[in-house]
């Protein structure tokens, strides 16, 4: 299956949120990485069909998704960044409602509801009203409803935002297990989310696709751009004024600086392997958000 996004643009009241975004995705987990306001959610909404593009098209195996209508929505599972739940519904009733909307028959709906509740570890609270759910539980309900119809295209927008570290790890594990034979596209501004699960990354900045590829491939492009420099406390300000500092760490009475620069910044700088945090800073000019559980994805 191919999900083709062709020249998709979106303008909101004169502001260009997306500009000629073009990419082709196949089965696997793909991460949309970029800072807040980059256009990630806008793109995902357009792919999900809840927002119309100003121009451009989204195709599945060459067929326009708007033309496909119900047939496209049958393939789709969507977890938005912000969503509500029906507070007086129990978890089970809510999922049965979504199952009804997704066109599942009675028997299949019942089976699938049990399955997805087990998958997101909410089986023991299936008869509890959603008003009593914590933030993490609500987020899991969100992913559960997205999985009901066994979607071939799963779109997940900032799935771990607002979750505590334990919930975040659990969520990543769920996402990683979902890859299989489906296209999973999720957006995040948290590096560690990408490190764990994504097989390729789409870098989004100011509505443009500025980079696309496997983490290793993107990082290899940064080879020779990341340096380590040891300096005194007094020299830190001088380096901060002249270079992009990815990281700072104190070792005894010296400061180890991690600098992003095209050329060797100072004679005693040592080239080091780039990480995804370095890539983020290099591309977006701001520090990446990490939850401290990152794996060293350096080459």
């Amino acid at each position: 299956m191919k999900l083709q996004i062709e020249q998709v643009s979106k303008t909101y009241k004169g502001e260009q949120a997306l500009s000629n975004f073009t990419v082709e995705l196949t089965e696997g987990v793909h991460a949309l990485l970029g800072p807040n306001g980059a256009g990630k959610s806008t793109l995902l909404k357009i792919i999900a069909g809840v927002l119309n593009p100003s121009s451009g098209h989204v195709f599945v195996d060459g067929e326009d998704t708007i033309r496909m209508g119900e047939r496209y929505r049958e393939l789709l599972g969507y977890l938005p960044q912000h969503f509500g739940l029906y507070k007086n519904f129990t978890a089970e009733r809510f999922l049965l409602y979504i199952a009804a909307l997704k066109g599942l028959d009675k028997r299949t709906a019942s089976q699938k509801v049990t399955e997805v509740l087990q998958e997101v570890n909410l089986e023991d609270v299936r008869h509890t009203q959603l008003r009593k759910f914590s933030g993490g539980m609500k987020q899991r309900m969100g992913i559960a409803q997205a999985l009901l119809n066994d979607p071939k295209i799963l779109i997940v927008d900032e799935p771990t935002a607002g979750l505590d570290p334990k919930e975040r790890i659990r969520f990543r594990n769920v996402l990683a297990s979902l890859a299989g034979n489906r296209i999973v596209l999720f957006s995040t501004h948290i590096i560690s989310d990408v490190e764990y699960v994504a097989q390729d990354i789409l870098l989004v900045k100011d509505g443009h696709l500025v980079g696309y590829g496997a983490p290793e491939s993107l990082l290899s492009q940064m080879q020779g751009h990341v340096w380590q420099v040891s300096c005194s406390q007094n020299e830190v300000a001088k380096y901060q004024g002249s270079f992009q500092i990815a990281n700072m760490c104190r070792i005894k009475d010296r400061i180890e600086l991690r600098i992003i620069a095209g050329d060797k910044p100072v004679p005693h700088a040592v080239a080091v392997n780039p990480t995804l945090e370095d890539l983020y800073l290099f591309q977006f000019g701001e520090e990446a958000v990490s939850d401290g559980t990152s794996v060293n994805h350096a080459i």
């Binding site: 809840v50 009804a100 997704k102 066109g103 599942l104 409803q145």
Partner: protein, 376 residues
């Protein structure tokens, strides 16, 4: 392969809201019941002469009237003797006015003259046809006695135009104003719009649930109305003509009982029609408060305008408004026919096809409005 019913879930969403039941209870039990109890406790209903009086009865009534009136003036107001005399006075007056000729006869005479004049001048169009229609309807009326009927049946009918239409409209607004707008405001529309049956089939389910809701609520309101008023004021007089209650000039040959059945049907029809426009406003509004305010405005504005602007068009506006329809008695106050291609069509008949067409168009627009909705 049996699909799960989306309508069932939509009905659950509507009827599981505690606010609906709390509001209904407050209005029916907290407000309407005490008011009716108060009326019942102080009720000294006027008398209606249901059958043509004999000459002896008439003679006796004419003789007794001035005597009873004198006794009334001399008795202590509010005492038991006073109320007995008052009842006697009402009865004698009802008998006396039954014989003296009714407003119907006067009107019929006036119509005959009008028709003769129009015929003589060769004007046989709408005006002539309307006069003839009214004349034929009045000719067909049964005996209309003097006095007034104010028993259980009258109270049941009075409910529609006093509290009934307000309670019903309030319940429709509270229940249905958020039906779409709440989905938009809360973010559940994300799930709905991306589901296979989350567009056209969902709208159909919401429409069905909304119409069922309005019928069920209307039915509950009417059961309460009929039951309570029957209990407090009795069921005597249900076979009296509608001209025995404040529908004196109505040219329709209906008993109180028949009118109540017709009124319930119109009441429910009005509720269903109003629900359709509330649905459309909800589908177009991103906030429930806006949906509520606009729908309330649609309901209230025609009545406000007709109170401020005393022109023909403002009366017509109210006649063909949801308020007018839900009040019901407006349709039957007096003879009113509209010119449809030169032919008089009675207002209570014309109102139905108009509202059916409006409701169908409005319902179609609900599909369009929701289909165009985007999550921004």
């Amino acid at each position: 392969m049996e699909h799960l019913s989306i309508t069932r879930f939509e009905l659950y969403k509507l009827f599981s809201r505690k606010s609906i039941w709390i509001l209904l209870t407050i209005m029916l039990v907290g407000l309407f019941l005490p008011l009716q109890l108060l009326i019942a406790s102080t009720n000294h209903p006027p008398v209606y002469q249901a059958t043509p009086p004999t000459k002896q009865q008439l003679q006796q009534a004419k003789t007794d009237l001035p005597i009873v009136q004198q006794k009334l003036q001399n008795s202590h107001v509010g005492s038991l003797v006073y109320w007995d005399l008052w009842h006697e006075y009402q009865r004698d007056q009802a008998i006396a006015s039954s014989y003296s000729g009714t407003a119907v006869a006067t009107r019929m005479y006036s119509l005959q003259e009008s028709m003769a004049h129009l015929k003589a001048s060769g004007q046989m169009g709408f005006a002539y046809r309307a006069d003839k229609l009214e004349y034929d309807m009045l000719k067909n009326l049964p005996f209309i006695g003097g006095g007034m009927y104010n028993g259980g049946g009258a109270m049941m009918i009075d409910f529609f135009k006093t509290y009934g239409f307000i309670i019903y409209a309030a319940m429709i607004l509270i229940g249905l104003a958020p039906i779409f707008s709440e989905e938009y405001a809360s973010g559940t529309d994300n799930f709905l719009l991306t589901a296979k049956r989350g567009k056209r089939q969902l709208v159909s389910a919401k429409v069905k649930a909304a119409l069922l809701y309005s019928v069920v609520i209307g039915f509950i309101i009417e059961v309460w109305n009929l039951g309570l008023n029957a209990l407090l004021f009795g069921t005597q007089g249900l076979n009296y003509p509608i001209q025995s209650i404040p529908l004196y000039r109505a040219p329709f040959h209906l008993t109180i009982q028949q009118y109540i059945l017709v009124a319930i049907a119109i009441f429910l029809f009005g509720g269903v029609s109003f629900s359709c426009i509330v649905l459309l406003v909800s589908a177009l509004s991103r906030m429930t408060l806006i949906s509520f305010v606009i729908s309330t405005g649609i309901f209230v504005l025609p009545a406000l305008i007709s109170k401020v602007v005393h022109q023909f068009w403002s009366g017509t506006l109210l006649n063909f408004s949801y308020t007018g329809l839900l009040q019901v008695s407006r349709l039957y106050y007096h003879f009113l026919a509209y010119n449809v291609l030169g032919h008089p069509v009675l207002y209570p008949i014309l109102v139905f096809p108009i509202f059916i067409v409006i409701s169908l168009i409005v319902t179609r627009l609900v599909y369009v409005a929701y289909g165009r909705h985007q999550v921004v």
